[in-house]
Each structure stands twice: as C-alpha cells, then as structure tokens.
Subunit: 254 residues, 2 copies
Amino acid sequence: MSTARGARARARIEVTAAIKDEARRRLAAEGAAKLSLRAVARELGMVSSALYRYFPSRDDLLTALIIDAYDSLGETAESAHAEVADAGPRERWIAVCVAARRWALEHPHEYALIYGSPVPGYTAPETTIPAASRVGLLLIGIVRDAHQGQGVARPPLPTDLKVEAQRMTAELAPDLPPEVVAALVAAWAQLYGLIGFELFGQFNRVVEDRETFFRHAADQLAHGVGLIFPRPTRPNAAHGANGRGTDSGRANGA
Amino acid sequence: MSTARGARARARIEVTAAIKDEARRRLAAEGAAKLSLRAVARELGMVSSALYRYFPSRDDLLTALIIDAYDSLGETAESAHAEVADAGPRERWIAVCVAARRWALEHPHEYALIYGSPVPGYTAPETTIPAASRVGLLLIGIVRDAHQGQGVARPPLPTDLKVEAQRMTAELAPDLPPEVVAALVAAWAQLYGLIGFELFGQFNRVVEDRETFFRHAADQLAHGVGLIFPRPTRPNAAHGANGRGTDSGRANGA
DNA sequence: TCAGAAAAGAGAGCGCCGCTCTTGCTTTGG
DNA sequence: CCAAAGCAAGAGCGGCGCTCTCTTTTCTGA
C-alpha cells in the first residue's frame, strides 16, 4: 500500500509529495495564478519536463492542491469542533464558523482556490467531493444533535419550495425536517459569503472590527437554521457571564 | 469634453472603446485568466505593442472591465428595482436580489472577476469604489424607505458589536438604527455567498431548483435585516404578521 | 505658416510560461 | 539476464506580458 514494493515506488511517493509541498508553498506565497510548473521544478532542482511524470498538467497539480486545501480546512474545522464537543449547539456552530474564517484568513490563496472563482475554464473533478463536504457535514451534525434534543425549529416552508426541500433532505440528512435542511444549505452558502467578502476586500471601508462582526453574523446564521439557544442554564447570567455577549433576540418557532 | 478637439482625440476614444469591447467579449467567452492583450490586439488588427498606448498593462485593462461589470450589474439591479418601485419593501428587496443573481448567471466570468477571488496579486484600485457600491446603495435605500414607514425592526445588538455598528452606521446610513445597518451589511455579503455558491458549482449535487431556493433565501435575508412584511392591507396584524409561509421568529425591537 | 512637440503604429526582442518529443540511463520483473 | 517500463534531461514550439526603438501622423503655438 503506502510502503510500496521498490525503492522506485517509494521515491515516486516522495517526489510527488515534494512537488506538492513546493507548489503549496508557492501557492500560499503568490496565488494560484502565478503558480508555475517551471518554478516548482526549478526550486526542486529538476527540469520542468520531468515534473510531467508526476502531474500530467498544471490543472492536475492544482486539483491535488484543491483537495489538500479542502482537507486542511476540514481538519481545522473538525478539530476546532472537537474542542467544544461538549458545549451546546450554539457554541459548536460558532466554533466551526470561526475556525473556517480563521483558516481562510491564514490561507487566503488556498481559500480563493476552492471558494473563489474556479480557475480558468476549469471544473472541479468529482475526486474533490468528499474533501469538500467535510465542513458541511460538520454543520449538519451539529444541527442534527440539536434537533434530537428538540433544539431546532423553523417555520413551515412556502409551498413552492417543499418539493425541492424534500429532495435536498433525502440527499443530505433524511433525519432532519426539510425546513431545517433548506435553511442549513442557505446558511452554509451565506457563511462563505461572509468569509469571502472579508477576504476579498469587499469589507474594506465598510467593516473594521471584522472578528466581532463575523461572530455576530455567525450567531445570526445559527438562528437562521433554527437553532434555539436557551438561556445558558444559569438563570442569573444577565451581565457578562454570558458565553460571549453575542446573544440576540429569541428565536422560536412552531 | 467628450467630443474633444481633434480627430486624434476622437479616434483615441473609439479605439479605447473597441479594445474594451473586444476584451469584454473574450472575457465573457473564456474568462479573465485567458484574457490576453495579444489576442485582443490580434482580433483588432493591431500589433500588441500598440495596445499599450491605451492600457499600460493587462491589469489596467482588467480594472476597466471590472468597473464596467460593476456598472452593468448596478444598472441591471437598478432597472429591476425601478420596475417594482411602488411595491412594498419585500418585493423590492427580492427584485434586486433576483436581478443580481440573474446578472451573475448571465455574466459568470464578469461576476467572477468582481466577486470571485481577485485576480493574481491584484488589489482593486479606489476607482472601482463608486461602481461597486451601486447594489449596496439600492439595498440600503429599500431598507431606509421601510424604516421611515416603521417597517424595520431588529433586536438589540450585543454590547461588543455596538461600537462597530455605530461606526458602520455613521459611514453608510446615519439615518438608520445600528442594528439594522449591521444586519444589512451581513445580508449583503450573504447574498453574494448564495449567488457565488450556485455560480461556482458548490450547489452542484445539492440544490436543483435553484431559482426557487434562491427566492426563498433572499426572502429570509430580508427578514434578517429586519424588514417586516405586514399582511397586505390588514391593519391589525399583531400576531400572525406574516405575508406567506415565510416568516421566521418574530423580529422586534426598538 | 511651419517647425518642433506629442501621439500613435510597427517591429524586434527579452524572459517567462505550458507542454511535447526525443534521447539516453536506471530499476524492475519475468 | 535481458526486455520492458520508469525516469531525468535537453531542445524546442507557440504563446504570453512587456519594453525599446524607429517611423509616421497629427497637433500646437510662435
């Protein structure tokens, strides 16, 4: 498997990894548009044509980087989630959102690669799907847990969305109510709108304290998916004792 | 001014326009990454070096296209808004959102240019700011009208966001309450998250009936900014105050 | 009016790019 | 042990952004 039979096979794995590492370094430093096979090869002391033995084209190398980026983001989100696994849905939801934002700010070019405009004429191959789903699955899981604890509520859907919402539900989370799934998918997209706007400069003369703004917006997203936030067990937590001052009006539903 | 003094000046205007037109054509056909000055020049029957008399670099040409794209989007949104100018805030809000989405679907590469990842190492010059603000101003205007009719309400802000929200309010819409402005900015970003996810394929095996889904999501965004949708012409709508099945918890506030 | 300034086009060229093809060398497996 | 397969290297093709030089055309002001 991984320790394949010959020295040749091992070398191939090592060289492939070295290429990806160097490419990732250059991607982080200069962005996808300036990522050139020739520069990677140069840095690795090999001739550019040799590199084609490992990645048949620049797009294939980019695809590998895309998958890695999805995985890196997914791992970051998952470990952030694990750290608050025992907390309530609200904390967990926000932890995942905040982790995604932080990852994006730390890896802007990788983020742009996966959630910005797709490169040239390029359409992502199906290989990327599992890696791309990790954050989404995390969010679904949080809502699912909340739902099993009766902590999710959403108003009924308009009739024209019912069919589609049921379809999405069957596909994504058959155990959740369609109203919740529809709201979840929207929140998922909106989360990346918030991150993207900050990252790509649309907030430039608009939002200054972006961390605070984002936490609040993520909190509102949680409301949007119908997560209910009961006053945190302590009846007398009016001032400051509250997780982080990010409360807002009550969300209640049917 | 526009008809400047000589034939030379007139020619310059015409050639500049021809270059932009051809560039826009190629941008729409192949995307920003494949837009090359040489190809544009070739198509126009001029030699590539001559083109540099009009645009000192590829990035400058792209900047011109960016401004045009913002203007095109802004115009589309504004005319869509004008068509429902007499309707309620909800219809107007949705009309603007739907128009933005439609424009994006019709001009994917232009959309990617302005709201996707910024090209190469490129940061948008300040020239683009006015053009970029048009849709945002439209949304602010809708909410402002609703507010003057007492049709906007939001729960109070968490304390840690108050300062920033007041700053944003002073900058963007001093006549609106800070809670509304904060929600508006978030909704603005979220709108483009929804559009971008559809456009860039993130909805691919997730959402099928995207038009319906989007309308619903845009409706929810309107709720998010605190737009209240009174039951049409019914005066006493204290309790079940929802237009269709699309209400979410009560929004109430100052 | 007419010479000099300014603007514009044309061409050659530099260094980069993705990618291909051919040529030899090394490892591998029957 | 030897043929097949894997691999590095080099040369080369066409395309790119951009610069520089040279010539022609147009504009301007004394």
